[in-house]
């Protein structure tokens, strides 16, 4: 069981680079990479809100539960 972060998919759809997204959210590229690669242990609501705002999507588009 895991929560998969489909950030790459949304970023490709919106045609936004990691550098640009990290700057707009206000996190470091390293932290964004941790999120993308599934190494993050938790995500703050403020970060999730910023991601949804910039990528114009819902939290469910970014986070997926897999058995």
């Amino acid at each position: 069981m895991e929560i998969v972060v489909n950030l790459d998919v949304m970023m490709a759809k919106r045609k936004i680079s990691s550098q640009e997204l990290s700057e707009k959210i206000g996190i470091t590229p390293a932290n964004l990479s941790i999120l993308k690669t599934g190494k993050a242990k938790a995500i703050r609501f403020s970060t999730l809100m910023a991601l949804c705002s910039i990528l114009e999507c819902q939290p469910g588009d970014l986070l997926e539960f897999k058995e």
């Binding site: 932290n31 941790i34 999120l35 190494k39 993050a40 242990k41 938790a42």
Partner: protein
């Protein structure tokens, strides 16, 4: 002079240096220190000398660990595995010192007091080590919270 955490750490390091100097003085003057206990039985005198040097060696180990620990704190490296291992090793050195004091206390009663003191410090360091261990896990969790 305003007091801050850097000055506090420096004061701790100065105290460690003073203790190291005292330990060195004890190493040099161990014979006279044991003689001052009034013990004149050759076998027990030798045992006290050996115990004194064992405790001194453990004290050097503790002082070195504490010096490294303080150095890490000064550099801002606080909740790391290295630091809780310092606490872990210090606690076991204190257990060793406590056991040595207990054995000496069999024939020189004032050592019982040192046994209790060393044992108490060992327990305190174990508690601190447990706290640091939890803090390292919490920090790891926090570092991976985006």
């Amino acid at each position: 002079m305003e007091w801050d955490k850097d000055k506090s750490i420096t004061l701790t390091q100065i105290c460690l240096a003073i203790f190291a100097a005292c330990n060195l003085a004890l190493d040099v003057g161990m014979y006279w220190a044991v003689k001052a206990t009034g013990e004149d039985r050759a076998a027990f005198f030798a045992l006290l000398m050996i115990s004194g040097y064992v405790i001194s060696a453990l004290a050097w180990a503790v002082l070195w660990r504490l010096w490294r620990f303080m150095g890490n704190i000064k550099r801002g490296v606080i909740f790391t595995k290295e630091n809780y291992l310092h606490c872990f090793h210090i606690s076991w050195c204190m257990v060793g010192a406590a056991v040595t004091c207990l054995l000496c206390g069999i024939f020189y009663y004032p050592f019982i007091v040192l046994f209790v003191a060393a044992g108490f410090v060992a327990i305190m360091m174990r508690v601190i080590k447990n706290v640091f261990q939890q803090a390292v896990e919490m920090k790891s969790e926090l570092d991976l919270t985006i």
